[in-house]
């Protein structure tokens, strides 16, 4: 009896393993999993429940007609899949860059620094293909870097010496003078011409000072933040949110005499929106890769939809609070004035065509 029980348990463990294996490439419905694994629907359903409780899978689509599950991965962002070859390549670079960084800078490399350097370098190596995108702090791979982990790799590039030289020269040329993570990020943003990220950093800096003293600069940065927001059609709801934030904040700048008192609320709203923008950016930049280009909708649905939806909701709530604050300053006694130079005023006059609305 004990032997039979052990057989059944082992079999269940084997099926669980097989489920995790078939989910490795992409999310699947229960029916598909059942077909791929070769077990009946109710066994798969039961085991998926256990795997959910073990935090190894997540149900991402639940309808009357279909239920879809995806693999939870602790070592990738958004549980995105990564194949063995790419994983080995990343491990190789994590190890190489860490060692060379320490050799030059005499200190340990952090997560943000590693991701910047790695994405910077692989752009110079067309034969090395790893998935990467732009997220909260700029470029990064799908695989997370854990500074406390040792990395060894079976990947053996043909031009190992050239790769080492490239890593070394990149660190020396572009990041040697960086005293901290922020400087590394700024150098990276300037090198890659990432306008939105540079503006993000400047806005962050504004919040560390006195908002009452930096109103004009803050207004300019907000305008730029909106200007450099995504332009694709599928980002339109996100851009509306950004536009609403910028509009509300600039109105507060114009009307609120003590901006410093509401700085925290503005910052929280901005932070929430940046998280949303960065998540979309990561999705958008990832799907520029040839592997994902034709699967854009699928990638969005399986890996980003739920996070983006939550972040949209959160941003809308923050905006609602900001709007409440603005409504307290609804009494305007004098016309608001923008300080403009003469040339700009002359150009601005041309905007009066807006008065023609009913012709």
């Amino acid at each position: 009896m004990l032997y039979i029980k052990t057989m059944v348990k082992k079999s269940k463990e084997m099926i669980k393993s097989k489920i995790l294996e078939v989910l490795n490439d992409k999310p699947l419905s229960i029916n598909k999993i059942s077909t791929e694994v070769g077990s009946n629907w109710s066994t798969i359903n039961e085991l998926l429940k256990i795997l959910k409780e073990e935090n190894k899978v997540r149900e991402i689509v639940t309808t009357d007609k279909i239920r879809v599950f995806k693999l939870l991965r602790e070592d990738t962002y958004f549980d995105l899949p990564i194949d063995k070859k790419e994983r080995e390549i990343c491990y190789y670079f994590f190890d190489k860059i860490r060692n060379i960084w320490f050799d030059i800078k005499k200190k340990l490399i952090g997560k943000i620094e590693m991701q910047k350097i790695l994405t910077d370098i692989v752009e110079e190596l067309p034969s090395i293909h790893i998935l990467k995108g732009l997220y909260l702090f700029g470029g990064m791979t799908v695989l997370k870097f854990d500074p406390s982990q040792q990395y060894s790799s079976q990947f053996k590039p043909k031009s190992e010496h050239e790769i080492e030289e490239l890593i070394r020269s990149t660190i020396i040329k572009d990041y040697h003078d960086c005293k901290n993570v922020k400087q590394t990020m700024m150098n990276y943003y300037k090198k890659k011409n990432l306008s939105l990220y540079l503006i993000k950093e400047e806005i962050n800096s504004i919040f560390t000072g006195n908002l009452n003293l930096d109103k004009e600069k803050f207004t300019d940065l907000l305008s730029d933040f909106l200007f450099y927001s995504p332009i694709k059609e599928d980002a339109s709801q996100i851009v509306e949110i950004i536009s609403e934030f910028v509009s509300l904040t600039i109105k507060l700048i114009k009307k609120c005499p003590k901006l410093e008192e509401i700085k925290y609320q503005i910052f929280e709203t901005y932070n929430s929106i940046w998280l949303l923008v960065a998540t979309y950016n990561f999705f958008d930049s990832l799907t520029e890769d040839t592997r994902y280009r034709d699967r854009r909708e699928e990638i969005y649905e399986f890996y980003f939809y739920s996070k983006i939806k939550d972040r949209i909701q959160s941003s809308i709530e923050y905006l609602s609070h900001l709007d409440d604050i603005l409504s307290r300053y609804s009494d305007i006694s004098s016309e608001t004035k923008l300080q403009l130079d003469n040339k700009t005023k002359m150009i601005r006059d041309s905007f009066v065509d807006m008065a023609r609305v009913r012709k």
């Binding site: 207004t219 300019d220 305008s223 730029d224 909106l226 200007f227 450099y228 332009i231 851009v239 536009s243 910028v246 509009s247 600039i250 109105k251 114009k254 009307k255 609804s330 009494d331 305007i332 016309e335 608001t336 004035k337 923008l338 040339k343 700009t344 005023k345 002359m346 150009i347 601005r348 006059d349 041309s350 905007f351 009066v352 065509d353 807006m354 008065a355 023609r356 609305v357 009913r358 012709k359």
Partner: protein
């Protein structure tokens, strides 16, 4: 004669919203009809009168105007970022919006960092205008008359046959209805001259409506400021 109560049309509110304190010669856009200065002068000159407008302008036309401007601004932004983008993609924009958007886009050639600076200017104009409209509604307008649901359908349809403009016919109907009940308004418009005469003539074509309603005095803004 200017009566005690002035009924303002949409063009005056928008003109006021876009008022620029320093007026300079316009060299970029030809043949503009602008009413910013006129609108502000009107409010100042007749500050002892009572200014009103209708519910249709406040709750339909103005929100529609602001919505279109937002859409247009976003399209201009996309074009400034990618010059292959075509302004006018949204079917909510009127042709005059698209024409204006194209002109704004071309202004980038006059700035060193053209695209960013044009957008900054446009954003500031939009936000300042929104604030000015709010200010106008709360400090200048004393009453909002004729709720939309009370606009006489027959009256507005009658005028629609002549104006072929849904907004105009609702506003005209609102002004006429209010004046008929109160007999104390002068309607001020940025629209064509001799509008009052035309409105009376058109009303006269329908005997039933002509007996029921009275057209107010209509003044073209430039004739009275």
């Amino acid at each position: 004669m200017i009566r005690e109560v002035l009924f303002l049309d949409m063009g005056i509110i928008v003109g006021y919203a876009n008022h620029l304190k320093e007026y300079n010669k316009k060299f970029l856009i030809d043949n503009i009809d602008y009413f910013c200065e006129d609108s502000v002068r009107l409010i100042e000159k007749f500050k002892n009168k009572i200014f009103i407008t209708c519910d249709y302008i406040i709750n339909k036309d103005l929100p529609n105007f602001l919505e279109r401007r937002k859409i247009l601004r976003e399209e201009i932004r996309k074009k400034l970022r990618n010059n292959e983008f075509k302004i006018g993609m949204s079917d909510k924009l009127y042709q005059r919006d698209v024409n204006w958007g194209e002109k704004v886009y071309r202004l980038k050639d006059f700035f060193k960092e053209g695209e960013r600076e044009v957008f900054k200017l446009l954003l500031d104009l939009d936000i300042s205008s929104e604030l000015r409209i709010k200010e106008f509604k709360s400090t200048v307008i004393k009453e909002i008359v004729i709720p939309i649901r009370e606009i006489d359908t027959e009256l507005k349809s009658h005028y629609f046959t002549f104006t072929n403009n849904y907004s105009d016919s609702n506003i005209i109907a609102s002004a006429i209805q209010y004046h008929t009940n109160n007999k104390n308004i002068t309607m001020v418009t940025t629209d064509v001259k001799d509008m009052g005469w035309k409105l009376r003539e058109w009303l006269g074509i329908d005997l039933k409506l002509n007996n029921k309603y009275k057209v107010p005095d209509v003044k073209y803004i430039r004739d009275i400021v």
